[in-house]
Subunit: 223 residues, 2 copies
DNA sequence: CTTTATATTTTGAGTTGTCAAAACGAAACT
DNA sequence: AGTTTCGTTTTGACAACTCAAAATATAAAG
Protein backbone atom coordinates (compact mmCIF):
# COMPACT_ATOMS: atom_id res chain seq x y z
CA UNK A 1 0.00 0.00 0.00
CA UNK A 2 1.68 3.15 -1.13
CA UNK A 3 0.63 6.20 0.88
CA UNK A 4 -1.83 8.71 -0.56
CA UNK A 5 -0.89 12.35 -1.01
CA UNK A 6 -2.94 13.09 2.07
CA UNK A 7 -0.99 10.65 4.20
CA UNK A 8 2.25 12.02 2.82
CA UNK A 9 1.21 15.51 3.80
CA UNK A 10 0.39 14.51 7.34
CA UNK A 11 3.71 12.73 7.73
CA UNK A 12 5.64 15.62 6.26
CA UNK A 13 3.89 18.14 8.49
CA UNK A 14 4.58 15.94 11.47
CA UNK A 15 8.22 15.66 10.57
CA UNK A 16 8.59 19.40 10.33
CA UNK A 17 6.62 20.01 13.50
CA UNK A 18 8.86 17.58 15.36
CA UNK A 19 12.00 19.25 14.02
CA UNK A 20 10.99 22.68 15.25
CA UNK A 21 10.35 21.34 18.72
CA UNK A 22 12.64 21.12 21.70
CA UNK A 23 13.07 17.73 23.34
CA UNK A 24 11.06 14.66 22.55
CA UNK A 25 7.66 16.14 23.31
CA UNK A 26 4.78 14.89 21.21
CA UNK A 27 3.22 17.18 18.63
CA UNK A 28 -0.22 18.31 19.84
CA UNK A 29 -3.20 17.67 17.58
CA UNK A 30 -4.06 21.31 17.16
CA UNK A 31 -0.65 22.14 15.80
CA UNK A 32 -0.71 19.26 13.37
CA UNK A 33 -4.20 20.19 12.21
CA UNK A 34 -3.10 23.77 11.57
CA UNK A 35 0.03 22.63 9.76
CA UNK A 36 -1.91 20.31 7.48
CA UNK A 37 -4.71 22.82 7.09
CA UNK A 38 -7.65 20.77 8.33
CA UNK A 39 -10.12 20.98 11.21
CA UNK A 40 -8.92 19.51 14.52
CA UNK A 41 -11.37 16.62 14.39
CA UNK A 42 -10.12 15.65 10.97
CA UNK A 43 -6.57 15.42 12.24
CA UNK A 44 -7.66 13.20 15.12
CA UNK A 45 -9.40 10.80 12.75
CA UNK A 46 -6.45 10.68 10.38
CA UNK A 47 -3.90 10.24 13.14
CA UNK A 48 -5.81 7.29 14.52
CA UNK A 49 -5.68 5.70 11.08
CA UNK A 50 -1.96 6.44 10.80
CA UNK A 51 -1.38 4.89 14.22
CA UNK A 52 -3.32 1.86 13.02
CA UNK A 53 -0.91 1.58 10.09
CA UNK A 54 2.07 1.90 12.38
CA UNK A 55 3.27 5.18 10.90
CA UNK A 56 2.86 7.22 14.08
CA UNK A 57 2.66 6.78 17.84
CA UNK A 58 -0.44 8.40 19.23
CA UNK A 59 -1.33 9.30 22.80
CA UNK A 60 -4.90 10.58 23.10
CA UNK A 61 -5.15 14.10 24.51
CA UNK A 62 -1.38 14.39 24.44
CA UNK A 63 -0.09 14.28 20.91
CA UNK A 64 1.53 12.37 18.06
CA UNK A 65 5.01 11.37 17.02
CA UNK A 66 6.31 9.65 13.89
CA UNK A 67 7.27 6.01 14.24
CA UNK A 68 10.54 5.02 12.58
CA UNK A 69 8.57 3.78 9.57
CA UNK A 70 6.68 7.08 9.43
CA UNK A 71 9.86 9.09 9.78
CA UNK A 72 11.45 7.26 6.88
CA UNK A 73 8.43 7.88 4.68
CA UNK A 74 8.39 11.53 5.67
CA UNK A 75 12.06 11.82 4.80
CA UNK A 76 11.41 10.44 1.34
CA UNK A 77 8.64 12.95 0.76
CA UNK A 78 11.00 15.69 1.88
CA UNK A 79 13.69 14.31 -0.42
CA UNK A 80 11.36 14.54 -3.38
CA UNK A 81 10.18 18.00 -2.40
CA UNK A 82 13.65 19.42 -1.98
CA UNK A 83 15.16 17.80 -5.03
CA UNK A 84 12.28 19.18 -7.06
CA UNK A 85 12.91 22.66 -5.65
CA UNK A 86 16.58 22.46 -6.42
CA UNK A 87 15.77 21.23 -9.90
CA UNK A 88 13.27 23.98 -10.59
CA UNK A 89 15.84 26.59 -9.59
CA UNK A 90 18.99 25.11 -11.08
CA UNK A 91 17.69 23.54 -14.25
CA UNK A 92 14.54 25.45 -15.02
CA UNK A 93 15.75 28.83 -13.90
CA UNK A 94 12.85 29.59 -11.60
CA UNK A 95 13.15 31.88 -8.61
CA UNK A 96 13.80 30.36 -5.20
CA UNK A 97 10.80 32.34 -3.99
CA UNK A 98 8.30 30.67 -6.28
CA UNK A 99 9.29 27.02 -6.37
CA UNK A 100 7.66 25.93 -3.14
CA UNK A 101 4.09 25.72 -4.41
CA UNK A 102 5.07 23.73 -7.46
CA UNK A 103 7.20 21.36 -5.39
CA UNK A 104 4.30 20.92 -3.02
CA UNK A 105 2.33 19.29 -5.83
CA UNK A 106 5.14 17.52 -7.62
CA UNK A 107 6.48 15.82 -4.48
CA UNK A 108 3.52 13.43 -4.57
CA UNK A 109 3.83 12.28 -8.14
CA UNK A 110 7.47 12.22 -9.22
CA UNK A 111 8.57 8.63 -9.71
CA UNK A 112 11.69 7.17 -8.16
CA UNK A 113 13.20 7.05 -11.61
CA UNK A 114 12.60 10.74 -12.10
CA UNK A 115 13.85 11.65 -8.65
CA UNK A 116 17.09 9.80 -9.12
CA UNK A 117 17.50 11.34 -12.56
CA UNK A 118 17.12 14.82 -11.11
CA UNK A 119 19.48 13.96 -8.28
CA UNK A 120 22.12 12.88 -10.78
CA UNK A 121 21.63 15.93 -13.01
CA UNK A 122 22.08 18.16 -9.99
CA UNK A 123 25.24 16.37 -8.88
CA UNK A 124 23.69 14.87 -5.75
CA UNK A 125 23.15 18.12 -3.90
CA UNK A 126 23.06 18.06 -0.10
CA UNK A 127 20.77 21.06 0.30
CA UNK A 128 17.96 22.74 -1.64
CA UNK A 129 17.77 26.43 -2.62
CA UNK A 130 16.68 27.39 0.89
CA UNK A 131 19.49 25.45 2.52
CA UNK A 132 17.18 22.70 3.71
CA UNK A 133 19.04 19.38 3.80
CA UNK A 134 18.04 16.81 1.20
CA UNK A 135 17.51 13.34 2.70
CA UNK A 136 19.28 10.47 0.98
CA UNK A 137 17.36 7.79 -0.93
CA UNK A 138 17.38 5.56 2.14
CA UNK A 139 15.71 8.19 4.27
CA UNK A 140 18.68 9.55 6.16
CA UNK A 141 18.86 13.24 6.92
CA UNK A 142 22.02 15.04 7.92
CA UNK A 143 20.84 18.29 9.46
CA UNK A 144 23.58 20.35 11.11
CA UNK A 145 22.02 22.63 13.69
CA UNK A 146 22.98 26.11 12.75
CA UNK A 147 22.43 29.17 14.89
CA UNK A 148 20.20 31.94 13.66
CA UNK A 149 20.73 35.67 13.34
CA UNK A 150 19.13 35.77 16.79
CA UNK A 151 21.62 33.47 18.47
CA UNK A 152 24.91 33.79 16.63
CA UNK A 153 27.80 35.82 18.03
CA UNK A 154 27.88 39.57 17.34
CA UNK A 155 30.35 41.40 15.10
CA UNK A 156 31.63 38.20 13.59
CA UNK A 157 31.38 37.37 9.93
CA UNK A 158 28.83 34.65 9.32
CA UNK A 159 27.43 33.01 6.21
CA UNK A 160 23.75 32.39 5.61
CA UNK A 161 23.22 28.63 5.40
CA UNK A 162 19.49 28.14 5.56
CA UNK A 163 16.16 29.96 5.60
CA UNK A 164 13.36 28.21 7.46
CA UNK A 165 10.39 29.90 5.87
CA UNK A 166 8.86 29.42 2.45
CA UNK A 167 6.84 32.60 2.22
CA UNK A 168 7.43 34.06 -1.23
CA UNK A 169 7.50 37.72 -0.21
CA UNK A 170 9.88 37.01 2.65
CA UNK A 171 12.18 35.12 0.30
CA UNK A 172 12.06 37.91 -2.25
CA UNK A 173 12.95 40.35 0.49
CA UNK A 174 15.96 38.30 1.54
CA UNK A 175 17.08 37.99 -2.04
CA UNK A 176 16.93 41.71 -2.57
CA UNK A 177 18.93 42.28 0.61
CA UNK A 178 21.64 39.76 -0.33
CA UNK A 179 20.62 37.42 2.44
CA UNK A 180 20.24 34.26 0.38
CA UNK A 181 22.20 31.20 1.52
CA UNK A 182 25.86 31.63 0.70
CA UNK A 183 26.00 35.35 1.41
CA UNK A 184 28.21 36.68 4.19
CA UNK A 185 27.24 39.30 6.76
CA UNK A 186 27.63 40.17 10.39
CA UNK A 187 25.21 40.93 13.16
CA UNK A 188 26.08 44.36 14.54
CA UNK A 189 23.57 44.60 17.33
CA UNK A 190 20.38 43.27 18.80
CA UNK A 191 17.77 45.38 20.51
CA UNK A 192 15.27 43.29 22.42
CA UNK A 193 13.22 46.33 23.36
CA UNK A 194 12.83 47.29 19.72
CA UNK A 195 12.44 43.64 18.81
CA UNK A 196 15.04 44.12 16.11
CA UNK A 197 18.38 42.89 14.80
CA UNK A 198 20.87 45.07 12.96
CA UNK A 199 22.95 43.54 10.20
CA UNK A 200 25.72 44.60 7.88
CA UNK A 201 26.15 42.77 4.59
CA UNK A 202 29.44 41.98 2.92
CA UNK A 203 28.91 44.96 0.64
CA UNK A 204 28.70 47.21 3.68
CA UNK A 205 24.99 47.91 3.53
CA UNK A 206 23.18 48.06 6.83
CA UNK A 207 19.81 46.38 7.37
CA UNK A 208 17.52 46.14 10.34
CA UNK A 209 15.02 43.31 10.59
CA UNK A 210 12.61 42.05 13.23
CA UNK A 211 13.46 39.18 15.53
CA UNK A 212 10.82 36.94 14.00
CA UNK A 213 12.50 37.30 10.64
CA UNK A 214 15.95 37.02 12.15
CA UNK A 215 15.13 33.70 13.77
CA UNK A 216 14.35 32.24 10.36
CA UNK A 217 17.74 33.02 8.88
CA UNK A 218 20.26 30.42 9.96
CA UNK A 219 23.98 31.06 9.73
CA UNK A 220 27.36 29.51 10.24
CA UNK A 221 30.55 31.27 11.35
CA UNK A 222 32.60 31.82 8.24
CA UNK A 223 35.80 29.78 8.36
CA UNK B 1 -14.01 25.03 -10.10
CA UNK B 2 -10.85 23.59 -11.56
CA UNK B 3 -11.27 20.02 -12.74
CA UNK B 4 -10.00 17.12 -10.65
CA UNK B 5 -7.47 14.65 -12.03
CA UNK B 6 -10.35 12.25 -12.51
CA UNK B 7 -12.31 14.67 -14.63
CA UNK B 8 -9.20 15.47 -16.64
CA UNK B 9 -8.69 11.79 -17.30
CA UNK B 10 -12.23 11.32 -18.54
CA UNK B 11 -11.96 14.32 -20.84
CA UNK B 12 -8.60 13.21 -22.16
CA UNK B 13 -9.83 9.68 -22.82
CA UNK B 14 -12.87 11.08 -24.56
CA UNK B 15 -10.75 13.33 -26.71
CA UNK B 16 -8.59 10.44 -27.81
CA UNK B 17 -11.56 8.16 -28.36
CA UNK B 18 -13.18 10.79 -30.56
CA UNK B 19 -9.99 11.27 -32.57
CA UNK B 20 -9.70 7.60 -33.42
CA UNK B 21 -13.29 7.51 -34.63
CA UNK B 22 -14.66 8.02 -38.09
CA UNK B 23 -17.36 10.62 -38.53
CA UNK B 24 -19.09 12.42 -35.73
CA UNK B 25 -20.42 9.35 -33.98
CA UNK B 26 -20.71 9.54 -30.23
CA UNK B 27 -18.32 7.53 -28.11
CA UNK B 28 -20.16 4.62 -26.49
CA UNK B 29 -20.04 4.27 -22.71
CA UNK B 30 -18.32 0.94 -22.74
CA UNK B 31 -15.41 2.25 -24.74
CA UNK B 32 -14.99 5.25 -22.49
CA UNK B 33 -15.17 3.07 -19.39
CA UNK B 34 -12.46 0.80 -20.77
CA UNK B 35 -10.29 3.74 -21.78
CA UNK B 36 -10.52 5.31 -18.36
CA UNK B 37 -10.21 1.96 -16.64
CA UNK B 38 -13.42 1.91 -14.62
CA UNK B 39 -16.59 -0.19 -14.52
CA UNK B 40 -19.30 0.77 -17.02
CA UNK B 41 -21.65 2.03 -14.34
CA UNK B 42 -18.97 4.31 -12.99
CA UNK B 43 -18.53 5.90 -16.38
CA UNK B 44 -22.26 6.49 -16.69
CA UNK B 45 -22.35 8.26 -13.34
CA UNK B 46 -19.35 10.37 -14.14
CA UNK B 47 -20.56 11.29 -17.61
CA UNK B 48 -23.86 12.49 -16.21
CA UNK B 49 -21.94 14.76 -13.87
CA UNK B 50 -19.79 16.02 -16.73
CA UNK B 51 -22.90 16.71 -18.80
CA UNK B 52 -24.29 18.61 -15.81
CA UNK B 53 -21.15 20.78 -15.85
CA UNK B 54 -21.47 21.34 -19.57
CA UNK B 55 -18.24 19.58 -20.44
CA UNK B 56 -19.85 16.86 -22.54
CA UNK B 57 -23.00 16.16 -24.49
CA UNK B 58 -24.62 12.95 -23.40
CA UNK B 59 -27.26 10.84 -25.05
CA UNK B 60 -28.41 7.95 -22.86
CA UNK B 61 -27.90 4.53 -24.43
CA UNK B 62 -26.07 6.15 -27.32
CA UNK B 63 -22.89 7.78 -26.20
CA UNK B 64 -20.95 10.89 -25.24
CA UNK B 65 -19.14 13.68 -27.00
CA UNK B 66 -17.02 16.56 -25.69
CA UNK B 67 -18.65 19.98 -25.68
CA UNK B 68 -16.47 22.82 -26.91
CA UNK B 69 -15.62 23.66 -23.31
CA UNK B 70 -14.73 20.03 -22.65
CA UNK B 71 -12.64 19.82 -25.79
CA UNK B 72 -10.63 22.86 -24.78
CA UNK B 73 -9.98 21.44 -21.34
CA UNK B 74 -8.96 18.11 -22.85
CA UNK B 75 -6.58 19.89 -25.20
CA UNK B 76 -4.91 21.63 -22.27
CA UNK B 77 -4.43 18.32 -20.48
CA UNK B 78 -2.94 16.90 -23.64
CA UNK B 79 -0.71 19.96 -23.95
CA UNK B 80 0.65 19.39 -20.48
CA UNK B 81 1.09 15.68 -21.07
CA UNK B 82 2.96 16.09 -24.30
CA UNK B 83 5.15 18.97 -23.22
CA UNK B 84 6.10 16.93 -20.17
CA UNK B 85 7.00 13.98 -22.37
CA UNK B 86 9.09 16.13 -24.65
CA UNK B 87 10.77 17.66 -21.63
CA UNK B 88 11.56 14.32 -20.04
CA UNK B 89 13.18 13.13 -23.24
CA UNK B 90 14.95 16.30 -24.37
CA UNK B 91 16.02 17.80 -21.08
CA UNK B 92 16.17 14.87 -18.71
CA UNK B 93 17.49 12.35 -21.18
CA UNK B 94 14.88 9.71 -20.54
CA UNK B 95 13.86 7.15 -23.15
CA UNK B 96 10.81 7.87 -25.29
CA UNK B 97 9.54 4.43 -24.26
CA UNK B 98 9.40 5.20 -20.55
CA UNK B 99 8.12 8.75 -20.31
CA UNK B 100 4.43 8.04 -20.74
CA UNK B 101 3.74 6.79 -17.22
CA UNK B 102 5.52 9.73 -15.63
CA UNK B 103 3.71 12.21 -17.86
CA UNK B 104 0.43 10.55 -16.96
CA UNK B 105 0.94 11.67 -13.38
CA UNK B 106 2.64 14.98 -13.99
CA UNK B 107 0.01 16.24 -16.43
CA UNK B 108 -2.37 16.81 -13.53
CA UNK B 109 -0.07 18.84 -11.33
CA UNK B 110 2.28 20.94 -13.42
CA UNK B 111 1.38 24.60 -13.04
CA UNK B 112 0.84 26.93 -15.96
CA UNK B 113 4.04 28.68 -15.00
CA UNK B 114 5.95 25.42 -15.21
CA UNK B 115 4.32 24.38 -18.46
CA UNK B 116 5.18 27.64 -20.16
CA UNK B 117 8.72 27.42 -18.79
CA UNK B 118 9.14 23.97 -20.30
CA UNK B 119 7.60 25.11 -23.55
CA UNK B 120 10.12 27.95 -23.77
CA UNK B 121 13.08 25.74 -22.86
CA UNK B 122 12.09 23.31 -25.59
CA UNK B 123 11.73 26.06 -28.17
CA UNK B 124 7.95 25.74 -28.48
CA UNK B 125 7.90 22.29 -30.03
CA UNK B 126 4.95 21.30 -32.20
CA UNK B 127 5.13 17.59 -31.48
CA UNK B 128 6.20 15.33 -28.63
CA UNK B 129 8.66 12.41 -28.84
CA UNK B 130 5.98 10.17 -30.35
CA UNK B 131 5.05 12.74 -32.97
CA UNK B 132 1.78 13.58 -31.24
CA UNK B 133 0.91 17.25 -31.84
CA UNK B 134 1.20 19.59 -28.86
CA UNK B 135 -1.87 21.82 -28.47
CA UNK B 136 -1.22 25.52 -28.02
CA UNK B 137 -1.90 27.32 -24.75
CA UNK B 138 -5.30 28.40 -26.02
CA UNK B 139 -6.36 24.83 -26.71
CA UNK B 140 -5.84 24.66 -30.45
CA UNK B 141 -4.54 21.47 -31.99
CA UNK B 142 -3.04 21.26 -35.44
CA UNK B 143 -3.13 17.58 -36.33
CA UNK B 144 -2.18 16.76 -39.90
CA UNK B 145 -3.68 13.44 -40.86
CA UNK B 146 -0.85 11.27 -41.94
CA UNK B 147 -1.21 7.91 -43.58
CA UNK B 148 0.10 4.80 -41.86
CA UNK B 149 2.38 2.02 -43.04
CA UNK B 150 -0.87 0.29 -43.92
CA UNK B 151 -2.18 2.98 -46.24
CA UNK B 152 0.82 4.80 -47.69
CA UNK B 153 2.02 4.15 -51.25
CA UNK B 154 4.40 1.23 -51.85
CA UNK B 155 8.06 1.47 -52.85
CA UNK B 156 8.19 5.16 -52.09
CA UNK B 157 10.44 6.68 -49.47
CA UNK B 158 8.46 7.87 -46.49
CA UNK B 159 9.41 9.35 -43.13
CA UNK B 160 7.94 8.23 -39.82
CA UNK B 161 6.04 11.16 -38.34
CA UNK B 162 4.06 9.71 -35.49
CA UNK B 163 3.46 6.57 -33.45
CA UNK B 164 -0.01 6.18 -32.00
CA UNK B 165 0.71 3.72 -29.23
CA UNK B 166 2.42 4.25 -25.90
CA UNK B 167 3.25 0.67 -25.05
CA UNK B 168 6.83 0.64 -23.81
CA UNK B 169 7.86 -2.64 -25.40
CA UNK B 170 6.41 -1.61 -28.76
CA UNK B 171 8.26 1.68 -28.59
CA UNK B 172 11.51 -0.06 -27.68
CA UNK B 173 11.00 -2.37 -30.63
CA UNK B 174 10.51 0.55 -33.01
CA UNK B 175 13.57 2.26 -31.62
CA UNK B 176 15.72 -0.80 -32.14
CA UNK B 177 14.47 -1.10 -35.72
CA UNK B 178 15.14 2.56 -36.55
CA UNK B 179 11.46 3.31 -36.85
CA UNK B 180 11.31 6.29 -34.52
CA UNK B 181 9.79 9.50 -35.87
CA UNK B 182 12.21 11.13 -38.27
CA UNK B 183 13.55 7.93 -39.76
CA UNK B 184 13.08 7.18 -43.45
CA UNK B 185 11.97 3.88 -44.94
CA UNK B 186 9.84 2.41 -47.63
CA UNK B 187 7.04 -0.13 -47.67
CA UNK B 188 8.07 -2.90 -50.04
CA UNK B 189 4.97 -5.04 -49.89
CA UNK B 190 1.81 -5.85 -48.01
CA UNK B 191 0.41 -9.32 -47.62
CA UNK B 192 -3.14 -9.29 -46.37
CA UNK B 193 -3.26 -13.07 -46.14
CA UNK B 194 -0.21 -13.13 -43.92
CA UNK B 195 -1.49 -10.04 -42.12
CA UNK B 196 1.93 -8.48 -42.56
CA UNK B 197 3.77 -5.51 -44.01
CA UNK B 198 7.32 -5.65 -45.34
CA UNK B 199 9.57 -2.66 -44.86
CA UNK B 200 13.05 -1.61 -45.82
CA UNK B 201 14.82 0.97 -43.70
CA UNK B 202 17.15 3.67 -44.99
CA UNK B 203 20.10 1.51 -43.96
CA UNK B 204 18.77 -1.24 -46.22
CA UNK B 205 17.64 -3.60 -43.49
CA UNK B 206 14.42 -5.46 -44.15
CA UNK B 207 11.73 -5.83 -41.51
CA UNK B 208 8.34 -7.53 -41.50
CA UNK B 209 5.69 -6.42 -39.03
CA UNK B 210 2.01 -7.21 -38.47
CA UNK B 211 -0.75 -5.00 -39.77
CA UNK B 212 -1.84 -4.03 -36.26
CA UNK B 213 1.62 -2.65 -35.61
CA UNK B 214 1.84 -1.10 -39.07
CA UNK B 215 -1.35 0.84 -38.55
CA UNK B 216 0.19 2.54 -35.55
CA UNK B 217 3.16 3.92 -37.41
CA UNK B 218 2.19 7.06 -39.30
CA UNK B 219 4.29 8.39 -42.15
CA UNK B 220 4.62 11.20 -44.61
CA UNK B 221 6.02 11.01 -48.11
CA UNK B 222 9.57 12.34 -47.97
CA UNK B 223 9.91 15.57 -49.91
C1' DC C 1 -11.51 22.27 45.32
C1' DT C 2 -14.57 24.02 42.25
C1' DT C 3 -15.16 26.78 38.24
C1' DT C 4 -13.67 28.30 33.84
C1' DA C 5 -11.05 28.13 29.78
C1' DT C 6 -8.80 25.47 26.22
C1' DA C 7 -7.67 21.58 23.58
C1' DT C 8 -9.19 17.23 21.93
C1' DT C 9 -12.36 13.73 20.60
C1' DT C 10 -16.93 12.13 19.00
C1' DT C 11 -20.81 12.30 16.29
C1' DG C 12 -23.49 12.96 12.27
C1' DA C 13 -23.29 14.30 7.81
C1' DG C 14 -21.46 15.46 3.11
C1' DT C 15 -18.41 14.93 -1.16
C1' DT C 16 -16.05 12.43 -4.65
C1' DG C 17 -15.13 8.45 -6.87
C1' DT C 18 -15.53 3.69 -7.09
C1' DC C 19 -17.67 -1.35 -7.68
C1' DA C 20 -20.89 -5.47 -8.13
C1' DA C 21 -24.92 -6.92 -9.40
C1' DA C 22 -29.71 -6.23 -10.57
C1' DA C 23 -32.77 -4.00 -13.84
C1' DC C 24 -33.48 -2.25 -18.18
C1' DG C 25 -33.29 -0.78 -23.28
C1' DA C 26 -32.03 -1.60 -27.94
C1' DA C 27 -30.87 -4.42 -31.36
C1' DA C 28 -30.24 -8.91 -33.55
C1' DC C 29 -31.71 -13.58 -34.67
C1' DT C 30 -34.60 -16.96 -35.35
C1' DA D 1 -43.40 -10.93 -33.31
C1' DG D 2 -40.75 -13.36 -29.64
C1' DT D 3 -36.71 -14.10 -27.49
C1' DT D 4 -31.87 -14.13 -26.70
C1' DT D 5 -27.87 -11.10 -26.44
C1' DC D 6 -25.31 -7.19 -25.43
C1' DG D 7 -24.46 -2.81 -23.78
C1' DT D 8 -26.14 0.60 -20.52
C1' DT D 9 -28.17 2.40 -16.48
C1' DT D 10 -29.71 1.97 -11.67
C1' DT D 11 -29.22 0.62 -7.15
C1' DG D 12 -27.03 -0.07 -2.83
C1' DA D 13 -22.82 -0.07 -0.75
C1' DC D 14 -18.20 1.26 0.44
C1' DA D 15 -13.55 3.83 1.09
C1' DA D 16 -11.11 8.03 1.80
C1' DC D 17 -11.34 12.49 3.37
C1' DT D 18 -13.50 16.34 5.10
C1' DC D 19 -16.37 19.67 8.26
C1' DA D 20 -19.40 21.66 12.04
C1' DA D 21 -20.85 21.27 16.26
C1' DA D 22 -21.72 18.68 20.47
C1' DA D 23 -19.45 16.16 24.14
C1' DT D 24 -15.63 15.41 26.90
C1' DA D 25 -11.04 15.58 28.97
C1' DT D 26 -7.21 18.28 30.78
C1' DA D 27 -5.27 22.21 32.58
C1' DA D 28 -5.52 26.73 34.61
C1' DA D 29 -7.44 30.06 37.71
C1' DG D 30 -9.98 31.67 41.40
Amino acid sequence: MLPSSTVENYLKALYQAESSRTGKTLVPMGQLATAVGVAPGTATTMVKALAESGLVDYEPYVGVRLSSAGAKLAALVLRRHRLVEQFLVEVMGMSWAEVHEDAEQLEHVVSDRLVERMDAMLGHPSVDPHGDPIPTADGTIVAPDYGSLLTCPLTVTVTVTRVTDQDASFLRFLEKQDLKPGHALEVEARDSAADSVQLRTASGRQITIGTQAASKVLVQESS
